[in-house]
């Protein structure tokens, strides 16, 4: 009877031992399989999310924060603005960049009430503002946020000279105001100053700006549209906002009033690289560019990191559980196998007295353990599907309850990096644990290694056994 037959006979006939070992490896195998499945699924979801968002970099500085710009002195503001624009222009010309976009914003230009239309009483009570752009084709269209369905984009001349032109959302035309291309919408430039006599800020100048509609876009339906509906209805050239800010500056420089002047600020500045693979190189370029400047940056990886916090915690937890379960399996299988080998001392003595090579005997014990152990692990693959999904769902839900709102804020602030406005809940709902071929191979390799290590104790015992002491005792 050769080695494999002996292994098979031993495994099939010593039913109690086989069942105990099978049950043990099945239970721990489940924990290992669940841990691997959760880890691999977390990696998968991260990759999917990164591919969905794409390789993007967002620049941030005090002038991209509406609250911070007013804390800057005029000199610091000018310096920060110049630094930022220089960096943007340098970076946007880099080879790795597919396209870049910068949006100016100026609070002093507000939608004017009109007898012909009453937009302010419609959906825009939160205030509408002008969304500056400087690209011939809107990057928002490239980002699949909108599509132009009437008219045209701004021409280079309109962009460079800051014409009073705008592209509006069809949301406006749907609100019973049938605007057409060529119609005009009136906005008002309102300049304010502090009046010591009244101890309050008063309007000192108002100028109507009549913007001609050159294009109408339609928002592509996504979660982000809900936010955009309220905030970004009116696209105008960046230089148009620069022009009116300069007008305000000139106005106050000629007067002795104490201006309560709004400052031009940058709502967002984004670079899209050709592919995710370009992101690491471009990150280094950005780091070199913003060195010694008051500019920070965030990447789509950071955004994904923020979204995947819970999943990553789960993945990290799973990794620890995997190591722990491997250790537990190692110890448990070692002890159980050691106990069974001690029980089989007489049988081992018989083999040795028959002249069996000790190496062959050791191989037989390893094969028996591997045979039963791997069978237990393979069986656990079947049940891990249900277990891992239920277990991870429970863990994710529990963890989300502990998540503070900071991450939600983070997500909202980085909507440029996250155009679909994905939330933790979206990620969790898409989180499907599954085990693939490569994961199975990994599980079997880890399981085999663990089982082989666990054989060391019983093998050591066999090595020191002397057949005479067993057979003639």
């Amino acid at each position: 009877m050769k080695l494999f037959k002996r292994v098979l006979v031993s495994v099939l006939r010593r039913k109690t031992c086989t069942l105990i070992l099978l049950l043990l490896t099945f239970l721990i195998g489940n924990v290992m399989a669940v841990s691997i499945a959760i880890q691999q699924s977390s990696k998968g979801i991260e990759e999917n999310l990164l591919n969905r968002i794409g390789g993007k970099v967002l620049l941030k500085s005090p002038i991209t924060d509406q609250n911070q710009i007013y804390a800057l002195s005029d000199e610091d503001y000018e310096k920060a603005w110049k630094e930022f624009i220089d960096s943007y222009e340098n970076l946007s010309s880099k080879e790795k960049v597919s396209y870049a976009d910068i949006h100016y914003h100026y609070n002093s230009i507000q939608l004017l009430d009109s007898e012909k239309y009453d937009l302010n009483n419609k959906h825009y009570e939160n205030g509408s503002y002008l969304h500056g752009v400087d690209s011939l084709v809107f990057t928002d269209e490239k980002e699949e946020l909108l599509t132009l369905n009437k008219g045209s984009y701004f021409t280079k001349e309109m962009l460079d000279d800051g014409w009073d032109v705008m592209i509006i959302s069809d949301q406006v035309t749907r609100d019973q105001v049938p605007f057409q291309i060529g119609d005009r919408i009136d906005f008002s430039l309102i300049l304010t100053a502090y009046d010591p006599a009244q101890s309050q800020t008063v309007s000192v100048y108002e100028k109507v700006i009549s913007y001609e509609i050159v294009g109408i876009y339609q928002q592509i339906d996504n979660k982000y549209s809900d936010i955009q509906n309220d905030l970004e209805l009116f696209y105008v050239p960046n230089q148009n906002l620069v022009k009116y800010e300069q007008f305000a500056k000139d106005f106050f420089s000629k007067s002795n009033m104490e201006p309560n002047r709004d400052r031009l600020w940058i709502e967002s500045c984004m670079f899209r690289v050709h592919s995710l693979l370009d992101l690491p190189v471009f990150k280094n370029t950005v780091l070199n560019e913003i060195e010694d400047k008051q500019i920070n940056f965030y990447t789509s990886e950071d955004s994904v990191e923020g979204l995947l916090g819970t999943i990553k915690t789960l993945s990290s937890l799973s990794e620890n559980v995997l190591w722990f379960s491997m250790g537990a399996m190692c110890i448990a299988v070692a002890l159980v196998t050691f106990y069974f080998v001690k029980e089989r001392k007489h049988e081992i003595g018989i083999y040795l007295s028959l002249g069996m090579d000790k190496k062959e005997l050791l191989i037989q014990i390893v094969f028996e353990t591997l045979f039963v152990g791997l069978l237990g692990i393979i069986l656990s693959i079947g049940s891990q599907k249900y277990l891992s999904q239920s277990f991870s769902d429970y863990l994710v839900e529990t963890m989300i309850r502990y998540e503070d709102t900071e991450k939600d804020k983070f997500v909202t602030n980085h909507h440029v990096l996250n155009p679909d406005h994905l939330t933790h809940e979206d990620i969790v709902s898409q989180y499907e644990v599954h085990i693939q071929g490569q994961d199975l191979i990994l599980l079997l390799i880890l399981g085999s290694c663990t089982l082989i290590i666990s054989c060391l104790l019983p093998l050591g015992y066999i090595v020191i056994l002397k057949p005479k002491n067993i057979m003639l005792e």
Binding site: M1, G349, I350, S353, L354, M471, L472
Partner: protein, 224 residues
């Protein structure tokens, strides 16, 4: 030439501060086709002697030669595998296997040429010791003591070795079964040309042997 030769064989056990000499310069030779009985009082070193010639232990001094070659040179495992078989008092069969499988295990370990159809050969050996096919396929722990010892003898036969060693082979058997086993061992020596060496305290077994080696006459010595 003798098939097995023992020269100046010495063996002792540590016993506290003293060394208990069990075998002191024993010399003996064994031939094929003969049935030897090793006798002596309990503790005189019969089993120790058997364990040494079975290569289950190493002698302190002296030599054991198989066909003129030191067994340490042959290699203890290889010597056990290809040149000897042991029949124990408590049969030492693998309990979860049937009689046939127990014989097949031994046949799978030896390197001696045995033939192609191992199962048929194993059954033939079992038949030759009085185990029929039905009993051959029965778990050994469901066989009687005498039947188990017959299986052990069939296993010893199956590896086609020259020397069969037996340690009190009738110790656990009734008189009738003992006689059958002794006859079988005697038959192995005389009809199958095996060298059969039996350690026994049973005078009936010793009487049927060709030569009685009494270790009692050598006695035990104590050395500080």
């Amino acid at each position: 030439m003798s098939i097995l030769e023992v020269k100046d064989l010495t063996f002792s056990y540590p016993d506290g501060d003293v060394k208990r000499i069990i075998l002191d310069h024993i010399s003996e030779s064994f031939d094929q086709g003969k049935f030897y009985a090793i006798v002596g009082f309990s503790g005189c070193g019969k089993t120790t002697f058997l364990s040494l010639i079975a290569a289950l232990d190493k002698p302190e001094s002296g030599s054991i030669m198989y066909q003129g070659k030191e067994i340490s040179e042959i290699g203890y495992e290889k010597y056990r595998r290809n040149h000897i078989s042991i029949v124990f008092q408590n049969y030492n069969l693998i309990p979860y296997m049937n009689a046939l499988e127990n014989v097949r295990v031994a046949m799978g370990i030896t390197e001696n040429p045995l033939g192609d159809d191992m199962t048929r050969l194993a059954l033939e050996h079992l038949f030759s010791v009085g185990i029929d096919e039905k009993k051959a396929k029965r778990r050994v722990n469901r066989l009687s003591g005498g039947e188990q010892q017959r299986v052990a003898i069939a296993r010893a036969l199956s590896t086609n070795v020259d020397i069969i060693l037996a340690d009190e082979p009738t110790g656990n058997l009734d008189r009738k079964s003992s006689e059958v086993i002794v006859d079988l061992l005697s038959e192995l020596a005389h009809q199958r040309n095996k060298c059969v060496i039996v350690v026994t305290h049973d005078q009936n077994v010793a009487k049927k042997s060709d030569k009685i080696i009494n270790l009692q006459t050598i006695g035990m010595k104590l050395k500080s």
